[in-house]
């Protein structure tokens, strides 16, 4: 039986879905995490502990194991493991992976911007600063409105719009504090950098795709019907198929494909964020991984294949019958954290589930958990899933289900 290495951070939302996909594909799994599993001692060849921040060392460790027990594919399940995944694939000579250089470029927003500009992909003006820079001086060197963002974080964490120099200075200080937290500071040298970009107005979409030998297959295009104009950029509702005109959807796919090519991405899943306005399509970001959180549960392909199953089949070089998504409209709401505090109670789940079209309400925050909203936070309260005949119905169902949920959050003492 083929052996598949899954790189699964202990903090990912994706574990269950990738393990289920591996079961369906019928492959033997090896799981690597950054911290030891309680059974790592019993199954040292199947439950690995790898330092995801040291790809060279991790790749050597896996190569050593693979000499004794071959590994036929490696799949990083989210952003944190794309670089180490590429390093492992290179060490094992696996063909269905991106290079370390390409994966590394997607993990640093400044280097990504540089590569996109060099390739002529439409990109807003940008500049890079470090936490050591004087924010007041930096505020005089940029245009407004602008968006400040850490170069190494994902999922809108630390992303803040500034319309004036005063707002710029405040945002800079806030991001500097986020970058000073130990878990962020440990990421890499880019953890001290702040990217400032011109704000791109317009409608935002997310493209989910699969690269095979450099050719992009579009798996889904999601509309984000809630405006993302700042000051923070909390993503909430994703609905597919897109309601944008067909020609615009084609231009979005073309831009995403050019961006992937510019970054050197050639294999595996991509998740791209783009904006559309009267000037055209703008690439905000592209990552060499699939959609985050539990959002992939909105997607079904062919006769019920999951996104994770497609990713695993591609990595293993197995046939993928179709990349065509089902005909139904589908959507997800990432439930935002309204304010800082401790989650005491969640009510209304049955009422939310009773909304026509709602398939599931998954509360992933646990009672007693400290909740931190954006821009500092890195978690969701949970996810609402809906399916229907038309995107409008799905969006309405998600909003109604969310309205019926009640979160009791106890404020933290000052």
């Amino acid at each position: 039986m083929r052996r598949l290495l899954l790189l699964i951070p202990t903090t990912t939302y994706r574990t269950e879905d990738f393990l289920e996909a591996a079961r369906k594909v019928g492959v033997e799994i090896v799981v690597a995490s950054e911290r030891p599993n309680t059974f790592a001692g019993e199954f040292p060849d199947d439950l690995l502990t790898l330092d995801f921040a040291d790809p060279v060392k991790a790749a050597a460790q896996v190569a050593d194991l693979a000499r004794r027990r071959p590994i036929h594919a490696v799949v990083p399940v989210d952003d944190l493991t794309t670089v180490v995944g590429a390093a492992v694939a290179a060490a094992l000579g696996l063909p269905t992976s991106n290079t370390v250089a390409a994966a590394s470029t997607t993990r640093n927003k400044y280097r990504m911007r540089e590569a996109l500009r060099a390739a002529g992909v439409p990109t807003p003006p940008y500049a890079r600063f470090t936490v050591a820079d004087d924010p007041a001086a930096a505020a005089g060197r940029v245009g407004y409105p602008c968006v400040l963002k850490p170069t190494v974080l994902a999922a809108s964490r630390g992303v803040i719009r500034a319309d004036t120099p005063a707002e710029f200075v405040a945002a800079f200080g806030r991001i500097r504090a986020i970058l000073a937290t130990p878990e962020v500071a440990a990421l890499d040298e880019g953890a001290a950098e702040i990217l400032v970009e011109g704000f791109v107005p317009g409608r935002e979409v997310a493209l989910e795709g699969l690269l095979q030998a450099g050719a992009l297959g579009v798996l889904a295009l999601f509309d984000k019907p809630d405006p993302l104009d700042g000051p923070f950029f909390e993503e909430t509702i994703y609905v597919t198929p897109s309601r944008l005109p067909t020609a615009v959807q084609g231009a979005i796919a073309d831009t995403a494909s050019r961006a992937a090519d510019a970054l050197g991405l050639r294999e595996g899943p991509i998740h791209a964020e783009l904006r559309v306005n009267e000037a055209g399509v703008w690439l905000i970001e592209v990552a060499g991984r699939s959609i985050g959180g539990l959002c992939s549960r909105t997607l079904r392909f062919g006769t019920g294949m999951s996104l994770e199953e497609i990713i695993l089949r591609h990595a293993l070089g197995l046939d993928i019958a179709t990349l065509a998504r089902e005909h139904a409209a589908a959507g997800v709401m990432m439930i935002p954290i309204p304010h800082r505090g401790v989650l005491a109670e969640v009510r209304g789940q049955d009422a939310a589930m009773a909304v026509p079209g709602i398939e599931d309400v998954a509360i992933t925050a646990h009672r007693g958990q400290e909740l931190v909203p954006l821009p500092e936070g890195s978690r969701y309260l949970g996810f609402i899933f809906a399916r229907g005949d038309r995107p409008e119905q799905v969006e309405a169902a998600l909003r109604e289900a969310h309205r019926r949920l009640e979160f009791e959050i106890t404020p933290l003492p000052a």
Partner: protein, 117 residues
């Protein structure tokens, strides 16, 4: 016993199993699963504040509930599929399926909490 297994929880389980070989009555499958939980699995997950409870064995399916640090933990699925399930399959071939009946959303002290990354 799988040859890849290192000394630890399963060796304790094997010692207990050898000691019981003198027993006249062969234990039922449910007893075997409970023994494995008591001697190998729960001592391991206890390191993360977790506990695995055997709910039932029906036909060839084991029903388990995770609590403590395992309930709602981001690594619970890995622990179940790549650790607990594998141990049970290797030690008790009569079992072909292990199902988790835990309400993970109700966990109040998970060892690892998922985040956006």
């Amino acid at each position: 016993m799988g040859g890849v297994l290192a000394a630890g929880g399963l060796s304790r389980y094997n010692a207990a199993k050898e000691a019981s070989m003198a027993d006249v009555k062969e234990p039922g499958v449910k007893d075997k699963v409970q023994d494995l939980l008591d001697t190998a699995i729960n001592p391991a997950v206890a390191a993360h504040g977790g506990y695995i409870e055997l709910i039932d064995v029906k036909d060839s399916t084991v029903y388990l509930r995770m609590s403590g640090g395992c309930q709602g933990c981001g690594a619970a699925d890995v622990t179940l599929k790549a650790g607990i399930e594998r141990m049970i399959f290797e030690e008790i071939p009569e079992i072909t399926e292990v199902l988790d009946v835990t309400d993970h959303a109700a966990g109040e002290n998970p060892y690892y909490t998922p985040s956006k990354g």
